[in-house]
Symmetry: C2
Subunit: 303 residues, 2 copies
């Protein structure tokens, strides 16, 4: 059995430990999609916001697809509604529901960066659209994705990242994603045992697997909060352990973002480190894992 | 009986009508506390944000008072808790609970502007602190204060305004007050009859007396949203009919603001225009009304 490098949900008091994994796994040059400064920023802050990656035409097409998956079968357990309303909050496994999304996961503008940061072939651990609908979109409380992926899904190491493609404008007003820069370098263990089928609640309102107020406050006092905003077509890349969350949305404008989580092939899931039963495949892929693409070109140091 | 100039909650469809009242009632010069440009801005946009009105020392004192009223008797009906938690959301009638707040209502930096804009002696229609606590502070949905004050409280005309003194920093992240500029020039009638004792719910989550999504969307498309942010000690003045709201607060920093609502003496409450019974005095003063101060100096045109 693998050693649990990041124990959580096993004590009555939260603790903070240092990250043991690199942030950028590759030690070779930098990815040609971004600058050396971008990489330094990502390494230091745990996120990177790239504006105007996708054209208006591409985004229009992606929004159409998002609309289709939004209106798919509401009894499907992969379709999550907002707490207190029937509005769709999230739809999961969207790259299996849409050919357009399925193609997009291997778009060089995304996957080349993922492969470089993780220094490996990569696969989709999870994909989803978070709709954050106008007027009624509710919050996502602060969390590290990795804390849940490790504890409930059995992801061994911090060798995964999310890419969020903004399908609508993300403004300061409609509940943009907020991040705590630098938080990816610490691991806050969370208190509380994981209840069975915790995901059925946590996808609406997360209570287990969220950091305690004291450690959160200290981390924000030290590092601040950043909420990257920009027009549709931007890409926010954030490291699997970067603390993030977002407020609600009372504006007339939905804040809809498409998320692809890339994990290194060498970091495939094992048994959960802090739950009795793994979560379903739509939340954490463990069956029939294949790389998003083959023939990855390792970036050469000479550049 | 007075004519109802702004009918609401009496039809199954919302309608929009033009404001019949002036925004700035005085036609004499401008208030020496602010500039002529400030007044033009307020007339056009329905709000005005003044930074650094109160010193750090003054704010420290006001925060201490806010802490005292926050920790007053939780069974008091004037103390409102957040939906879903015991955190204090609002405390009303604070100028009667604290000598410091009681003195502050007649501070020249506030009342002189109110008297000028309303062109009358003024009294406190309502006072409160909205705490919007760290991590758990919930939203205030879009609304016109006047719609409620008119319909539920019997305020005849749009001749009142709010002053919000920021007791903590209001940042883009901790649920700052958002306004729709120019919305004060239209009156959106709301649908739905007013239930008895509606305030017992509406102070936590307002559902009756909020504008419909279609009219809200059109108004925001046309005018946008502004969220003034600044450090503690600022004053936001907003007209009684300006649409405003705010999102929730998941940050470690409370967004606590002190509100004084000034109403013109000539605009005292009559019977509610759309409810059977008036709301309690702590929400809408109608007993023993006296001006905040006497001996108002009318501003002369010559300046």
């Amino acid at each position: 059995m693998l050693t649990d490098m990041y124990r959580s949900r096993n004590a009555s008091h939260p603790t903070i430990i240092d990250r043991v994994d690199p942030v950028i796994w590759s030690d070779q040059g930098h990815c040609p999609m971004i600058t050396a400064e971008d990489e330094k920023f990502y390494e230091k802050n745990g996120f990177l916001f790239l504006k105007n990656v996708f054209s208006d035409g591409e985004i229009a097409k992606l929004r159409r697809e998002a609309g289709l998956v939004e209106n798919s079968d509401p009894t499907d357990e992969e379709v999550i509604s907002e707490p207190g309303s029937d509005e769709v909050r999230s739809v999961f496994r969207v790259h299996n529901k849409s050919d357009v999304f399925s193609k997009l996961i291997s778009d060089d503008r995304l996957v080349a960066i993922a492969e470089h940061f993780l220094d490996d072939d990569v696969y989709i651990h999870q994909s989803r659209v978070n709709f954050k609908p106008a007027f009624k979109g509710k919050e996502f409380f602060w969390h590290s994705d990795f804390e849940t992926w490790h504890t409930e899904d059995g992801m061994p190491r911090m060798r995964a990242l999310s890419m969020s493609i903004t399908l609508t404008d993300n403004s300061a007003h409609n509940g943009p994603l907020m991040l705590i820069p630098g938080s990816h370098k610490k691991f806050i263990s969370c208190v509380g045992e994981t209840p069975d089928q915790n995901y059925k609640n946590s996808l609406k309102i997360q209570e287990i697997g969220t950091p305690d107020q004291k450690n959160l406050s200290e981390m924000v006092d030290e590092n601040g909060i950043v909420a990257p905003v920009g027009s549709a077509g931007s890409v926010l890349i954030f490291e699997c352990n970067t603390l993030h969350g977002s407020g609600n949305n009372i504006t007339p404008y939905p804040r809809s973002n498409l998320f692809f989580v890339y994990n290194a092939m060498s970091n495939r899931l094992v048994a959960p480190f802090g739950a009795t039963k793994p979560r379903p495949n739509f939340l954490a892929a463990r069956k029939d894992i294949v790389p998003v693409r083959s023939g990855r070109q390792k970036i050469q140091a000479a550049e």
